[in-house]
Structure formats: structure tokens, C-alpha cells
Amino acid sequence: MGELAVRTQDLSRTYGSTIAVNALNLAVPTGSVFGLIGPNGAGKSTAIRLLLGLLKPSSGCASVLGFDTMTEADRIRERSGAVLDFCSLYDHLSALENLEFYGRIWRISATDRRARARELLGRLGLWERRGELVHGWSRDLRQRLCIARSIFHRPSILFLDEPTAGLDPLAAAAVQRDLAEAAAAEAMTVVLTTTNLAQAETLCTHVAVMNRGVLLAGGPIGEICSYGARPRLEIVGRGFTDEVVTLLARRPEIAAISRLDNGLALDLIGNVDTAPLVSLLVESSADVEEVKKNRVSLQAAFMTLVQQSRRLEELS
């Protein structure tokens, strides 16, 4: 594993008798897009606030960009950008004035502020509307401006709390695309929380699954997906002899083989390239009529992890 942008060790936060975050151990690689996923009340937003030094942990510790969140929160905030769960803008200021204000906060020179505002508003398709008061703007436009504001000072790490919550699917897709472009263009680490698993699957390189304050699993997205049902290749046809099955069983991509009434089912070790397997069957003179591939999904992994955790809770 390379350098870490975020590291937490047994990080916990309680509110009275409620445990919002329970002994969280996270490792976010530098340059990754890291998704904290989980149902509502999982402790994702609290985790973000703890990482930004806005909340003090009840126990444990965390570091962001090498700075301790308890003692060096100012230095973390100097190097980070954040959009918390509400897209908050100054309604009586124009889009450009909103960015200008934050540019001044980050002590960016007037020339650089103008150039940066043009670059970001242009990239997000807001340049033509720069002079408008943001008061009447739709939610997705406001969210885009919030993202522009949060990366205006070129932070090393960006924290986003539910960046597409409350947006319609089209707007969410647009914001998601903007985010992906911004993350790539700015070469920064992104830590985001979301309940939208499809979004996490598209956007994130790494994810951590949380439920009721507890980390259920964390790591590269491909690895996390393997917690769910294995991807399966169903091959409909004839002529699948024992020799053919033996040949297939030697392939490293295959975890298990089972016979079906009209063909074979191959359980794969992950989302691997299946073309060589089909070629092997064809070369072995099997008659292949149809090939169906069921991909592993974050959704399946998430469901498995959350259900397992609930079962364990019930047992204990």
C-alpha cells in the first residue's frame, strides 16, 4: 500500500449513550477516491467531521495528510476542501462573488482568483451564469458551485458528505461526472460519503462499508465486491465432457464449476476477463449456444455485509 492520506486508529465518537462511530480503522491511500458507504445513521457524516477536526473523538485517533485531527486540525483544514451535507452558498451573492469570497479566505491573489474562477466555472458549465445571484438556482447548479468552491484553492484532499443527495437521477449523474472530472484534473484524494451504491461503484477506487458506527469492510472496490456473491458465467450448450470440465477446473479464474441441465455454471474469482474461457470451450469442440455473465456488484457485497452484521448483532 502506498502513502496514506487518512489513517484512523480505533476512532470512536459517542453522543450520550449513542455510539456514532465505533473503533473505526481506516486507511485511505493518497490519490484515491474513497467512498464511505452505509445506511442512514451508519456514522459516515460523523466520521467526516472527526477527520476535519470539527468534532473531538471520544477515543482513538486519526491523522489526515500526516496531521493529527485533535492537535493540528487547523493545518488539516488549510489543506483540505469540504462540502458537508448541506450545499450552503450565500444567496445574496452571485456565483462569482461566492467564489471570490472563498478565494480571499484562502489568500489567493486577485489575478489567480479570476483565472481559477474562470477555469472552474467553465469546466462545470457555470461561466455564463457567473453574474447571477445564486438565490434561485436549482439544487444541482448549487451543488456544482459548492464543488467548485471546495476545490477553488487546490486542496490536497476533498471531503464530500452525500454530494448527490436529493438530486434527481439526471442531475446526480451530472454532478457525479463533474466530480470524477474534478478528481482526475486536480489529482487529489477524495473522501466521500454516500448511500448511493451505484455511484460509489462508478466513482470510487476504494470503499469502506459502515453500519451502526462499525466498519464492516474496507479496501479496493474489487476486493470489497468479492464479499458478495461471486460473479458467475452461465454457458448454455452441449458437449461439455468431463475432459472439458477438467480443463476448465485448471484455470485460475475459476473458483467452482457446476453442471446445469442445459450447460455449465462457472463461479469466477472476481470480475475477470471471460473471453479466454469461452475460447477454450470452443476449441474443445463444445457447442456453445449462449453465454451469460452475472457481474459482482457492490450492491450484493453491501447487502451481504450488512445482513451478516445484523445477524451477528441478533446473536449477541
Partner: protein, 246 residues
């Protein structure tokens, strides 16, 4: 930190100007203050208006009125609109945010008082009474107004920081101001009976006698001490950890 406070103050003043120019009630209330205390009162009372003890209360009370209305929105209102969250996640220190917000409210309240004072001077000069009004009195009134505006803004910030909503903050701030005015007025009258004769004479002369009058110096020092105490209290109330905790 001063530069950061200045940035916050400029933004707040800008937002305030935009907000008040859009709301008709804000413009009307400011105009009413200007007409009532800048034209009608000095015109009716003549030059005695400036040195009159009741007028003196006005120059101290007017900034309180303006500041408490404005400052209530600074923290509680921004918290309601979630723009405070966006400020708290930046590199700004708590002190810079506090000073910027108090500064904006105080400056606004002081400008309203100064404008009223200038309008009063014009009214007096038009009625021919200005010649009897020493410039030092205007200067003293302007200084007292400034200190009063800053004090009101800081007290308003303390109330606003602890309030759950902007409306709650505004109601609490007005309640605090009225209670303080009532207590000062009544308490002052009761306490004055027990003051030594020298103190009573000094208080009756008022702070406008000369820039070195003991009453003026006591007023300024008293306001400054109160200001520092309240700023310290407000600084303790600014806490990033008061953000939501979902």
C-alpha cells in the same frame, strides 16, 4: 488574523447591503430612524438635543437597536442556512470569524448612528442652532456611539451563538437590550442616591462637558472593559463542534 476578519466583515456587509436593499421593511425602518432622530427630534429640541441626558441615551441606544437586529442573523441565521458550516471547514480561525461578524454588525450600527448624527447637525445648522453646538460634543457622541455599537454587536453575537434560530436570537437580543436598559435606568437612579456628592455632580454634568470630563472617561473605560469581557465570552462560545452531528 486581522486580514481574515476583514474578509469576513466585507462579505457580511455586502450580504447585509444586498439583503436590506431587497427587503422594503429594512429600508423603511432605517429611513424612519434617520427622519425621526436626524430631523424631527433635533428640530423640535434645538441645540439642547445634543447635551440632553435623554438624547445621550439615544446616541448610546440607537446603535444597540440597529446592531441587535443585524447581529442576531450573523451566527444563528448563518447556522440555519448552513453557510456557517462552510466557513468552519475553511482555514479561518474562530477568532477571525467572530471579529469579522462583530465588526460588520458594529460598523453597520455605527454608520446608521453617524448618519443620524450628521443629519442632526445639518438640521441644527438649518435652524440656526448649530453655532452653539461645539464640535467636540459631536466627536464625543460619535465615539460613544461607536463603543456602544461594538458592545451591542458583541452582546448580540453571544446571544446569536447560543440561540437555536435567527428568530430566537433576535427575540433574545431585544429582550436582553430592554432588560439592560431598564436595569441601568432604574438601578442608576437608585444607586445615585448613595453616591458621594462629587460623583453625583460629575454625573449630572454628563460626558459632553469636555473631552477630558471624568464622566466621559469613566463611560469610555467602562464600555471598553465590558467590550473585552464580552468578546472573551463570545470567543468561548464559538465552537466548530456545534455543527450538526448526524
Amino acid at each position: 488574523m486581522i486580514g481574515d476578519a476583514w474578509t469576513v466583515m466585507c462579505k457580511d456587509l455586502r450580504a447585509l447591503r444586498a439583503f436590506r436593499s431587497q427587503g422594503l421593511s429594512g429600508v423603511i425602518s432605517t429611513l424612519l430612524i434617520l427622519i425621526l432622530f436626524g430631523i424631527i427630534v433635533p428640530w423640535r429640541l434645538g441645540v439642547g438635543w445634543a447635551a440632553h441626558p435623554v438624547s445621550l441615551l439615544l446616541w448610546i441606544g440607537l446603535p444597540w437597536l440597529s446592531a441587535t437586529v443585524v447581529v442576531a442573523d450573523t451566527f444563528a441565521g448563518e447556522r440555519e442556512r448552513h453557510t456557517l458550516d462552510a466557513l468552519y471547514v475553511t482555514r479561518l480561525s474562530n477568532d477571525a470569524i467572530l471579529l469579522g461578524k462583530v465588526g460588520a454588525s458594529a460598523l453597520f450600527a455605527w454608520l446608521v448612528a453617524l448618519l443620524t448624527l450628521a443629519l442632526s447637525a445639518v438640521t441644527l445648522s438649518l435652524t440656526g442652532a448649530a453655532a452653539e453646538m461645539p464640535f467636540s460634543s459631536l466627536l464625543i457622541l460619535a465615539t460613544l456611539s461607536m463603543l456602544s455599537a461594538t458592545l451591542a454587536a458583541t452582546l448580540g453575537a453571544v446571544v446569536s451563538l447560543r440561540a437555536s434560530s435567527a428568530r430566537h436570537a433576535q427575540q433574545s437580543a431585544i429582550g436582553v437590550v430592554l432588560s439592560l436598559a431598564f436595569l441601568t435606568f432604574l438601578g442608576g437612579q437608585v444607586a445615585a442616591q448613595y453616591f458621594p456628592a462629587f460623583w453625583r455632580r460629575m454625573m449630572q454634568a454628563g460626558p459632553l462637558g469636555s473631552p477630558s470630563s471624568p464622566a466621559l472617561i469613566i463611560s469610555i473605560v467602562g464600555l471598553l472593559v465590558l467590550e473585552i469581557v464580552l468578546l472573551g465570552l463570545a470567543a468561548r462560545c464559538v465552537a466548530r463542534s456545534r455543527l450538526g452531528s448526524s
